[in-house]
Point group: C2
Chain length 249, copies 2
């Protein structure tokens, strides 16, 4: 384990304590954290013990929520955490944030509504480079006026969540390819973006007035620079680092 990772592990106890203490302070004392929504296991310490067991309080302490695939935590809140990056809150059977957001309102909260002993929640999603997504959830058993709590505390909670999730992932050495890639040329980026839009090499050639061989040449170079094996990984890594962006090239 490198020094950097050891230092990150050393930061974890204070961060975990701060996250639970923040929940206690504002009236949402039931806390859960996921470092990686692609991994169903909960956030754990260096010895593999889940913080859910050692440090966080949960709505139902005897209920290992991460083993229950039907708990609200697994559906609406997780779905929403994948789709937005800004903190949001749950009350009155729906998800909202500081401004009207179409996506959050489209998330089906039926299951959360039907969960007994569950009041309100503030959720801070954490989107990291290379497609890593985590989240922290502060919850209550009864309604506590979460909307005003959200207005006053969401920013700080989000900052805490970002530090916690980013530090934990770095402590675990995730993602493994977290290196500074070589600079991509203008053509490499162009070809990657059209490939990300689903175009074949032939189609890209037509679009950019290049031969298929030239397009392949640039895509292969880009793949080598990004440390990718194949077209799909090139695109995934490039997208995860923001090279692809929102619009087709």
């Amino acid at each position: 384990m490198t020094d950097y990772r050891a230092q990150c592990w050393a930061e974890m106890p204070a961060l975990i304590t701060a996250v639970q203490a923040a929940g206690d302070r504002i009236g949402l004392p039931y806390v859960a954290a996921q470092a990686d929504l692609g991994d169903p296991e909960p956030m754990s310490d260096a010895d593999g013990k889940p913080y859910a067991e050692t440090s966080f309080h949960w709505v139902d302490p005897d209920h290992a929520y991460w083993r229950d695939r039907k708990l609200a935590l697994h559906i609406a809140f997780l779905t929403a955490a994948r789709l937005v990056a800004e903190p949001f809150f749950y009350s009155d059977g729906r998800l909202r944030t500081w401004r009207p957001t179409q996506l959050l309102e489209a998330v089906d909260c039926e299951q959360a509504k039907n969960t007994p002993n569950f009041g309100e929640a503030i959720i801070a999603p954490v989107h990291l480079p290379r497609g890593l997504v985590g989240a922290v959830f502060w919850c209550s058993r009864e309604p506590v006026g979460v909307e005003s709590l959200f207005e006053r505390h969401a920013g700080d909670l989000h900052n805490l969540a970002l530090k916690l999730v980013a530090t934990h992932n770095e402590a675990r050495g995730r993602p493994r390819n977290a290196t500074v890639p070589q600079t991509l040329t203008r053509r490499e980026v162009q070809c990657l973006r059209w490939a990300a839009a689903g175009k074949t090499d032939g189609e890209i050639g037509i679009i950019l007035s290049l031969s298929v061989s030239t397009v392949r040449f640039h895509l292969r170079n880009a793949a080598a620079k990004l440390g990718a094996t194949g077209r799909a990984q090139s695109i995934q890594i490039a997208a995860g680092l923001g090279f692809v962006g929102a619009r087709a090239a």
Copy 2:
């Protein structure tokens, strides 16, 4: 333009003003913002006018930085903004954040060091779902003790940057496929994750003890649910929503 997008555009003036005012207040009054690092154009208003021209102050007001590919903004800071999600600062020729971070220290700042009239900076990267990456930069011409400014203000600056970049992208209707996808089944996610790790359908079949046809079946279903055209897009979208995560399936 839908109501949601109109509401987002309506939020923009106050957010832009807040971002510039925050920089003015703490002594880093030269501000730049990118909503999408995959798009070289700067953040603009609903009429297409760059905020860099109408609202933000820059180190060299006559110098359209977004047209200069060699400016510090294009290299070290942008590279770093792609690689980390936590705010960071530039001083003494290097990038640092609130804790030692290997990645930031590996970013080559030679060009920033050699940029005349450039002092220190705080950078707030913004990583959004589906691979959208933006950033806000607060800069000075001379050193201003940015390390202590960072300690006191980074959290608030980051929250401002997140609101600004997320709202601006939503105002523009980016990304176009920002919808709630259908729920993926356990096998669909498993197959996607191995495919994201670069495995062929045959290799995935061996790993999961399934036939090639079954693997293809699950990947095709997943592609349809995600609205993807082809394997590469399936993987990109799944990764951008955190389904792939940090470790090979």
